[in-house]
Every structure is written in C-alpha cells, then in structure tokens.
Amino acid sequence: MSQARPGSAEIPIQITINGERRCVELQPWTTLLDLLRHDLALTGTKKGCDHGQCGACTVLIDGRRINSCLQLAVMQDGKAITTIEGIGQGSHLHPLQQAFIERDAFQCGYCTPGQICSGIALIEEGNAVTRDEIRELMSGNICRCGAYPNIVDAIQDVLVQRSGVIREAAE
C-alpha cells in the first residue's frame, strides 16, 4: 500500500454554493473548478484550459467574476459561490440567460456558462456602457464559435432593460 504524500491531508472548509451551505474536505491543491466539476457534479462550469486563459470556468465569488481554475478551493472558506446552475433554471431564467437565447449568443454552448456569469458581473460592475466597453471587458471569455457580436447584443439588451428599470424607479 502506498504512503500518502506529505501535505495531502484533507482540509475541511465551509462554503455556500448557489445558496446552499456545504462542508467539504479537500486536498490543498484541488482547484475550485475541479471541486465543482468532479466532487460536486456541478458540470455547468466548464474547463477550457485550466490556466486562466479562456474564461470558460468563470463563476461568481461573493458576486465577483473569477476564473475558478485559478482559485484553490481551500481558499474559499466562508465564501459564497454562484455557478450557472444557481443563476436561473427552468422557467426562471435570468434576463441575461433569456437574452442569450433571443440573440443567439452561443453555438456549441461550451463557453456560455462562463460568458453569462461574466456578463452578469460586468453589468453589476457598471463600467461598461458602450459596445466597445462591453467588448473590452468581456475579452477574458473566449468563444471559439465566434458568437461575440451576439454576446455583445445580449449584454446590451440587459443593460438597456436595466437602465429603463432604474429610470422608472427614479421617476
């Protein structure tokens, strides 16, 4: 029987995933992405490179968009993670999910969960108004199918809806 390697003791953490509190024990080197995909069977978050180069693994950590492949899972103790599964399901889609469908902002769909998480955070950040700004601030998410113009359209639709809502509330 082989020996456990030094440093391989499992570390317990508590995290909230899509609103649900969970206690997990982890190897120190397990990434948040592998925790989601392998251990928790939340495969909506995608692996495109495992090196922070494609954005397919984008999730929201305490509302901020982050490449989950670049995060060690043990560092998420006490944090709240939202994955695509927690964004909207069935007939309760997030407006950006609906906009992606209406605008045909995907083809194969593999980059899509990451694009949507990234887009939602981008809208919250409030730094992008123009198409150029959306393009620039969505450039961490590669879409090999080349759905970029439609992704920008979808995000713009939600930004416009939002500003309408904000204006109504102010009036």
């Binding site: 495969t43 992606f100 209406e102 045909d104 769909g109 969960p113 590669i142 080349g146 992704i151």
Partner: protein, 746 residues
Amino acid sequence: MLKNDPHIGSPRNRVDGPAKVTGAATYAAEFAATDLGHGYIVESAIARGLIRSINVAAAEAAPGVIKVFTHENRPQTAWFTYKYRDQVGPPGSPFRPLYSEEIQYSGQPIALVVATSFDAARDAAALVIVEYAEKPHLTDLSIARKDAYKPPKKRLGIAPPPDPRGDAVKAFSEAPVSVSAEYAIAPEHHNPMEPHATTVIWEGDGKITVHDKTQGVQNSQAYVASVFGLSSDNVRVVAPYVGGGFGSGLRPQHQLFLAVMASLALERSVRVELTRQQMFGHVHRPETINAVALGADADGKLVSIQHHAVAATSQFEDHQENVVNWSGMLYHAPNVDLRYELAKLDIYSPGDMRAPGAPLGLFALESAMDELAIAAKIDPIELRLRNYTDHDENDGKVFTSKELRACYREGAERFGWNKRNARPCSMRDGRELIGWGMASGVWEAGMMKTAARGVFTADGRLELSCATSDIGTGTYTILSQIGAETLGLEMEQVTVKLADSTLPASPVQGGSWTAASAGSAVMAACQDLQAQLFKLARKIDGSPFADASDDDIAFVNGRILLRTNPAKSVLLAEALAASGEEKLEAEKSASPGLIGPMRYAAYTHSAVFAEVRIDAELGQIRVTRIVNAVAAGRILNPKTARSQIIGGVVWGIGMALHEETLTDHRLGRIMNHSLAEYHVPANADIYDIDVVFVEEHDDKASPIGVKGLGEIGIVGTAAAIANAIHHATGKRLRSLPITLDKLLAA
C-alpha cells in the same frame, strides 16, 4: 389562412438554448459513473526515435493509481493497420496509440496513467521516467518542400487537380498583364472550447457506452468495434452536445482509443480528458504554401491561371484537401495548370479544419486577383465580373445555381464600396490608415446519404431522430422546424434526438452537408407520416376527405384540413386514435441521387468586404467592418444561419491576423501550445460583422433546396482582409497571419 406562420425560413431560437444557458447540456467529460477511473496521458518529449526504456514503477506506486498502460503492457488490439481506418481518414497507416516503442511526433501519447481521481493521475504521470534513442527529425516545411510529391493515392471525396487545359506557361509569358507570387498560411489548431474527452461507461458483460467528443458517433462506434474486435451491439456511442468541433472531431482521436482500451482492460468506467496543451498533440490545419501566377489581357480577361500548392502531412498518412481546384472553377480562363503536392514532416497527421483547403487556396487566388486588378487598373469587383463563369470549367458541369453576381452587388452596396478611393494609402483618419478590400468565396454544396426516423404519437407530438450531430451548428433547431412545418405543428410539439449510434444512419457532421442531408431525410420521413395520417383521416366515419386527394389538403395547427374549405378538418391525434394505433412511424433516407451530381456542380458562393484600420506608427491592425454576402440556396433559419456565417468570419479574422502554431524546429516541438500564446480572436478583436443572404433558388443541390453554411463564412475572409491591408498601407503581405512585425518589416 391555410398556413401556420411558416417555421422554415423564419428566425427561430435554438431549441437547445435553455439547456445551454443553464449548464444542463452535458458534454463528453461530464457524464458520471460509479468507480470512474481517470486517465491522464503522458506524451513523448522528442519528435522522432525510439523509447529505449519507460519506467512506471514510481507512477504505479503513487496514491490512487490503478494502472499505467504503455506499449509494453497494453492489451492486444487489432493487428492490421486497416482496422484502424475510419470513414474520413486519408490514405496511409492511421496512428495506433501505444502500439510500439517508435516515436513519430512530439506530443505522441506514450503512456496512460489511470487513477481514482484526475489529480492523482496527473501527478503520477509526472513520475513516469522515459529514456529515448533520438533520431533526426524534420518539421520545417520550407526544407521538406524540396521533396514534395504528388499523393500517389487519392483521398476519398477529394478530387485531385484536373488535367491542365491549354498551355498556361506560354499564355502567361505572352500576357500583357501578369502577376506571380508565393502565398503561405501557417499551421493552425482547431482549439474547440471543449477539450477532447471520452467517458466510457462500463455496462458489464463487455458492453460499453461511450460519451465521445466526436462529430460522428457511428464513425467512432465503427472504429472502436474494429480496433477492439467488439460487436457493434456492444458499443454505443453518444454525443448529444459537442463543445465545438470545426473538424477536430471528424476522425476518432487518441483519447477515444485510450479510454476504451483502459475500460475494457480494467472492466470499469474510465474517462480520458486532454489538457489544452495536449490539444496541440493531434489534428491541425496543414501549413500550406501556394504559388500563383495569373496572366490577363489588357481588359483584365484572364488568359492563364497557374496555381501550385504544397502542404504538410505526416510521415504515416497523406492528408489531402482541395486547395487549388477552386482556381479552375471560380473564373473563366482558357489556359489553366493546377498542382497539389504534399511534403512529409515528423508531425501528427493534419486533418480537416473549417473549410479544409478553401481559405488556403483562396487566400492565394484572391490576393493575386487583387494584385491583378491593380496591375490592370480595374476595380476588383469589375475584374471578377469580367471573368465570371456559369459553369465549373474543371469538369464542364453547369452550376445548380450561382448568385455570385448578386453577392458582389448587394455586398458592395451594403459596404459602400462605391465610396472607395482605389489608390492605396488614400483613406486616413487621424493616426489610423483605413483600407477597404474584397474577395470572393466558394465552397461545395454537398449532400450525403442520411436516414431519419419520425414517430407521431397519440398526444399529438412528433419525435425525430437521426445519428447526425449538432456541434453548435443548429441541427436540433432546423430539424425541429422542418418537422413542425411539414406536419403543421408547433415547434414545442417536436422533439429531436441526435448523436446516438443506435439512431438511423448518418455520416459524420462536416463539409457543410448536414442541413441538406439530415434535413432532406427528416423531410422525407415527415412526408411519409403525412401520407399515413391522411390515409387514416380518410377512414374516419364521415371523413371530410372521402373524395380528397393529396393536393386538396393541408397540415395546419395539428390538423389536416381541406384547402377549399378549411372549416372541414380532422385533428391528427384524432385520426391516429380512430385507427386504434398508438403511434405512427416512418424511417426514410435521402441521398444525392446518381444523375444530379453527374450533370451539375453545386457550390455556395460569397463576396466578402473588409475594412481595416491600422495604426500608422505601431502597425496594429483592427478589422472594423466585414460585410459577407452569401448565396447558399434556401435559408432554413436566418437567426442560426447568420450565427454560422459570423462564426466563419471570426475564424477568417483569426486566420488573417492571429492564428499560428509555432514550432521550434530544433526540437520538432510546438512552442505556443496554450490559449495564451496561440491567439484566437477575443471579443475585443471583433467589431461589426454584417451578413447578407442573397436570394438564391436551387432545386438541384438537395431535395430541400439547402446548400449548407458551416464553411462558407471563413472562405475569402482572410483574403479580403489582406487586400484591405494593402489598400490601407500599400504593402502586400503574402504570409498569414499578418502580424505587426511582418507589417512593420514590409
């Protein structure tokens, strides 16, 4: 009103959209299994030679490791190389993973570590110790091209260059206007967003279910059955969602072999996923060098076309594409000489990548046409119109349809081409040089024999099924549209099942033939259901159709009704219920037929217009506007069709400016094997892309008038951009990608 709002031809949202935006769509590496073994591949560090020794003791002793497979202990597989052939492979000996100690390319899989977790397998893989006996290698096409050869055996489905016509050399030397140059395209890797992966579910009793990243489930199934000596009943291959293919999933890749091998040997479920780095260890677009010489009379009428290409291939296979034949069919010329040769390198076999061959050959031809337009002082569109042809001069066949003139006209209008000042460097905006260029595009409108099944059930629903794939092309959606339209149903009443090897036979999804082929098969199956339903409806007591013929009725809103008196109708479900049957079934196949392809040549065409803005000092190039006017027959769904073309254009921009696999020839090893260093276009690289579908009616290319859209978007785009760069800067760049360093040095 006899018709529903027509489904065919209307923009419809993707029926697989909800699954894709919620994360519910499941890809090859995401299928669960109990006791799953995770495989990690060890790759060769040298390009050519032998494995002198491979020591797996430390790896096998590592925590969680189940087994390490190498050429020394791999299970027996088929002996003959022909057993490893697949539907679309080229002539030669297909690569056989872990076959022997021989190394044929850098990145070749030489061991598979299987462990209880992905991390454990990856860590143990680093402990495998390999000693090599290196042999000299060659990976540099500029050297290997001196030994280029005409492929002795042709690849199925790829026409070799036609025989020369007239005397192209003499005509060229006598032509008053001529251009001649060499055009090169760097090797490219497909890099679909989803890395290649296979999850094999061990079902017991030698039965396996294989979730493979593939564009052809039945191709993978046949390969697995043949290589491992299994009956095809024991191998089911399923791939409902594929995270991009672009050709990389046409042939079975080595992760399929390795996952099945390990699963059979260990009698447990096994998954093998490639890393992004390992994705550079298999199929890619071959590096290709074109020499093109055009001669014309003073009016710009072509008198001579010579196009010779040499493309890289592996030592073990002769991968072939149509690179040069386009130059013999796109324009009229009396003297034509086309040649296509290969040169062997110590690399993995290249393969089909989005529009294989066409954007390579057309980058050369359409750049040369731009150069000729300048030499002859003729507008580039006018030059193309003067050389227009209404038949394929390679084989004398007339086109099933060709609205390329309309592409030029409508594209130019949308782009504002008439405002172009023909003089290079004449359009400047502050520190940016502006350039406008154009090019033609062409791709085959193919059709392949395909079968489909339709089942109509008592609840008024239709289920369609076919083994073809949807790799992001919109196949689920267009087949739903065809089914709904034919039987007069709502889209929601139709379910489409694809990409399961147990479904009616289909070839791989590629070549832009799926919509025409699977679409025609589905149409035929639904028409058969129409006939069955009509027959039942006539038998109902007091049927309004007692004297009606096929022409008198229509399928609308879930009913059959009399055209002359729509109030008289029978619910489809009612007709079925009255018969006492629970469901109706029809399986039909569609094929191109024999006579049509002998008489006619079927192609899609396009005219691509590009605007570039180039920083005058830094040489930074932006493609700020593309108009792509496409003639592709009937458009089933303008929404998904537009996306297909946009995707192709983005690929063309990548080819023109970004994509290049760089090899260190001293090591024979790829240097930029990551998405940080192999650049694909990002969102900020893509500005306006305007897609125009020109009216084109075609009743010969396929039974449903469809020509296909997967490839045409990329063809011509890189050439249009290179021509725009010349217009902006006066510099002619003949080597793709056109990076800043090349532009500044020119």
